[in-house]
Every structure is written in structure tokens, then in C-alpha cells.
Symmetry: C2
Subunit: 189 residues, 2 copies
């Protein structure tokens, strides 16, 4: 069920504020003030503050899950899969820079949906881990601790939302290419 109209505006405003100060530090009055209305008016459109966080995080997490499924089902090499994942992260992150902040920093404040989120996250990591391990077996990837590769890649991909908006007029295409090169081929000449 897609929320529509005013509700979307509230969610958008909330994401923006959540990114700047974090979920807990943002009050309903903050959100209302940013929209030039009173806090109580928000409740004509939403159920609770918690619902805002849930919607922001879960819909984004599901987008990643969908993307991962597509990558896994694509019949290509491990390296090619990793390249697709880099592109996936750049794409989603550049289109959801605010929501990505909540996904990364405020997930622990989920209540009813916390377990579901953790499951999605665990599955995502497990899938990426398998791609990396397969790559090592296939001799596509150097024989280093797969956990280190997993950690390094995910850390960078998860931070994209911070950097992308800082670079004005960023050429997404070029950026994806450069990032892929750095992540996969390293930087040493």
C-alpha cells in the first residue's frame, strides 16, 4: 500500500530531518514546523512517529533486497555481479540520500519491524558473502579472507549517501565507473 498525497510529503520531510539529527533527536513538532503546520495535524495522515521510520527504512531495505535478487539470478561471473551491485548501490543511494541515513543510523529504533529488517539485512550480507566466496573458488578473486572483502565493500557502499550529495554536479555514470575500478582493482600502480 503506497501512501499518497500529504503523507508522502510528511515522510519526505521526516527523512530530511532524520538525516540531519537522527530519529530520536527529531520531534513531531520539528517535522510540523518544517511543513508550516502544527504537530497535531500530522496525525490526520499518519499513525505515529514510529510509522514514519518504519516506512522510510523498510521500503528502502526491500528495494535492496529486490536488487540483490536480480543480481543473483543474472547468469554472469562473480566479478560482474559485484559490478552490478556497485551500480545498484550508487543508483539507490543517489535517489534516496536522506532515507539512506535512517537505514544506516536509525534502524535500531525500529520496534515492530526490527526483526524483519534484521532478517533482510542478514540475508543481503549472506548473499554478498556467497558471491565473494564463489569468486574466490572460481579464481576470479584473490585468495584473501572473504570477510575482509565483504566488510570493505559494504562499508564503502553504505556510505555513498553521505558523499554523493556533497559533490555537486556529479557525473553518476563516471562515478560508478571510478568507484568500481577502485573497489575491485585497487589503487596501487
Amino acid at each position: 500500500m503506497k501512501p499518497s498525497g500529504r503523507k508522502i510529503e510528511i515522510i519526505t520531510t521526516a527523512s530530511l530531518l532524520f538525516k540531519e539529527k537522527g530519529y530520536s533527536a527529531v520531534t513531531m513538532r520539528d517535522i510540523a514546523k518544517a511543513m508550516d503546520i502544527k504537530a497535531a495535524s500530522l496525525y490526520n495522515h499518519i499513525k505515529s512517529k514510529q510509522e514514519l521510520l518504519s516506512h522510510i527504512i523498510i521500503s528502502l531495505a526491500e528495494e535492496f533486497t529486490t536488487g540483490m535478487k536480480a543480481v543473483i539470478n543474472s547468469e554472469t561471473s562473480s566479478i560482474e555481479k559485484l559490478k552490478k551491485l556497485v551500480a545498484l548501490h550508487v543508483f539507490i543511494s543517489s535517489n534516496n540520500t536522506q532515507a539512506m541515513a535512517s537505514l544506516n543510523n536509525d534502524w535500531m529504533h525500529l520496534e515492530a519491524q526490527l526483526d524483519y529488517y534484521l532478517q533482510l539485512r542478514k540475508d543481503y550480507e549472506e548473499n554478498l558473502r556467497k558471491i565473494i566466496k564463489d569468486g574466490i573458488k572460481n579464481n576470479e578473486i584473490i585468495d584473501v579472507n572473504p570477510e575482509v572483502v565483504l566488510f570493505s565493500m559494504l562499508s564503502t557502499l553504505r556510505s555513498l549517501y553521505v558523499w554523493i550529495p556533497k559533490k555537486e554536479d556529479l557525473d553518476i555514470e563516471q562515478f560508478t565507473q571510478d568507484l568500481t575500478a577502485v573497489l575491485l582493482s585497487g589503487i596501487v600502480k
Copy 2:
């Protein structure tokens, strides 16, 4: 001025809770309860909640600044400097996993010290940027957008605090080696 005795215990407890829920979601009563005392008792030792955050973040940021200065003043190649920085981050992060969380996620809640923190952070990034640019000029590093290299390295190094404690009986020495290899030489065979 190093705080001593009970104050250190409070700071330690606070870091732990700040890591789990973030600064704003942790109350003075939470901290007190974790120490089996009442919230008011905390004020025999500290000035304010804000002081806790300041101390945690600033002392850590200054540690990074000191480390960076040492690296810059060491007369070695750019690649060697990057290797030293990886080791620096692993070292500091593994010894301050809780405080690192505040440094990364709660710095925006600094008040009086916010500008000072931002300056330290900016200087640190600027120094790392220069090392990378020099490496490209020297032909030690491939000719790719230095911003991408900077972003990728820093993202990984800043996330160390999350991963290090998740791996029990982690061989720090080996981990540093593996991470350096992945970050600098890439993963493609």
C-alpha cells in the same frame, strides 16, 4: 586534564549506551541505571550530558589528529603512508569501539565543541587527500579521481568499529595486513 576514578566509569558506561542507541536516545537515567545508581548522583562527577559526549568525541578526534601528524612527518612513500594510516585506524578503532560510534554518528549533537570537531575532521580529510594526490603525481597510485579513493578508504576505515568487535578472537595483525591488501591492491586476480 584527564578525568579520573568514577568519572571515567561514567564516560565508559555512556559510550557503551551511546553506541547502542545513539546520544539522543540515551537518558541520564539510563546511564545511572547501568551503574546501579540514581541519575542525580552522576552530577557529583560530571557537569552535563553534553560534557560526556564532548569528552568521548574530542579526545578520540585528537588521537586521530596526532596519529595523522606522525604519518605526515614520516619521510616515506605515499603508499607507505596509506599503510600506516590503515594501521592507525585499526589500532584506534579496536581500542575504542564504543567511542568510535559516537564519533561517527553523534558528532552533530556537539554544541560548544562542534566547530572545533569539524575543523579537526576537515584537516584530517585534507591531509589524507594530499597524500593521495601526491601518490598520483609520484606515479605510485593509479590516475583515478582522488576524491573517489579518499571516499572509499575513509568509508571503510570509519566503519572498522562496527566490524572489529563482531569477529571474536580476531588476529589484529593479520586483519590489518588483509585489509591493507584489499584497500590498496584490490581484489581482482
